[in-house]
Symmetry: C2
Subunit: 212 residues, 2 copies
DNA sequence: TACCACACGTGAGTC
DNA sequence: TGACTCACGTGTGGT
């Protein structure tokens, strides 16, 4: 039942552009023009009707071709189409559009909760510390800090996180031009946990450069 | 020239299901059944032809309805469609599919070069170190390492990266159950830089727990 | 054979 | 008025 109608359009064009039923009436104009000026373009009512019909059918043909062309591009765009008939093409299109939409919203959701969008964010010049809840159900808190780059910074940070009795789920660090921007994803904070973590991180940030 | 054809389908259904030209011939069967048994279902050639035509046109109508239903769902799925006619719907569909495809490939590209997809990757039990070029034009190298979690690890790593004369563009660390998985994006490696970086990182990984 | 998908010309509607 | 879009029934070829 699988149908492959690749070139059917061409096969089906068996009608010539001027159907026979119309041809007979086209000899008429020459007769009338023998005694009437061609500027007036005299036409019998039947003649007018036939010409209009011809025009109409030609316009309709153009319309069909326009639509069929778009079916063709759809057939080319969509991957894995077996049945090439119009209904199947439309069905497959609908399916694909839905899938693509779902995929996009999923990917966009990911990139909004993930650090991907922070890739372009470089450390700012100012000393900064910011905490925000980013997933309430999972109790996930995102801490963003920007400060001078120091070798012992990671130790200080991990100690700060540890002392707040939390779990560091994920950390992301960008260091550029002697400055560092860190984003931490922390889990397991109690009600007053955020304030505690913040103060711990603040002391870590402002600790003077160690001896080492 | 903007066309709003929301409910045109309903307006256009002015034909009843049995066109007039067919009705006259439907009175025929009753006459023949007066002297022939209805089991044989006697049909004149004309009768057969008309019935076949009816069947055909009905099938064609079903086909049209199937296709038009799909146009309708497309109209509903696609956002921001002004012109509701078939050709415009198809054109808009093609446009949207192309856009969605581009969007998806872009987002997928992002998530493959970005750490997003590593979110689910937790530190493995085995000691691991792997380097790979992930962007040849930019000379970007991705180093993935998995080892026991130690407080001084980040210092060791940053020293290793620094001694290889490179720039740490980005770092990502996940610590779970006493183990750490780190992913480093390093830039500015020479031809033999990768080997050097690897050996430096290896020694950092296997360094015994410091006094501190 | 019957069924299916299609292109066609046409009548009718909208703008 | 004319340009357009649509649904319709039909003829035809392919399965």
């Amino acid at each position: 039942m699988v149908m492959l109608r690749q070139g059917m359009q061409h096969v089906r064009n068996y009608y010539n552009s001027e159907p026979q039923m119309m041809r007979s009436s086209f000899s008429q104009p020459f007769i009338s023009r023998t005694y009437k000026t061609s500027f007036l373009k005299p036409k019998s009512k039947a003649e007018i009707k036939v010409l209009a019909a011809k025009k109409h059918s030609e316009a309709e043909k153009r319309r069909r071709m326009r639509i069929n062309g778009q079916y063709e591009t759809l057939r080319n765009i969509l991957p894995n189409i077996i049945k090439k008939d119009k209904a199947s093409v439309l069905a497959e299109t609908i399916k694909q559009v839905k899938e693509l939409k779902k995929k996009v919203s999923k990917l966009e959701q990911d990139s909004s909760t993930n650090p991907s969008k922070d890739v372009v964010k470089f450390p700012s010049g100012a000393e900064k510390l910011r905490l925000e809840r980013c997933n309430i159900e999972e109790g996930l808190v995102k801490a963003t800090l920007s400060c001078e780059d120091r070798p012992e910074l990671m130790q200080l940070i991990s100690k700060a996180v540890g002392s707040a009795n939390t779990k560091l789920v994920k950390a992301e660090i960008v260091s550029v031009g002697g400055r560092t921007r860190s984003v931490l994803w922390v889990q397991g904070l109690g009600n007053d946990g955020m304030g505690m973590l913040k103060s711990h991180l603040r002391t870590a940030l402002h600790k003077p450069r160690s001896f080492q």
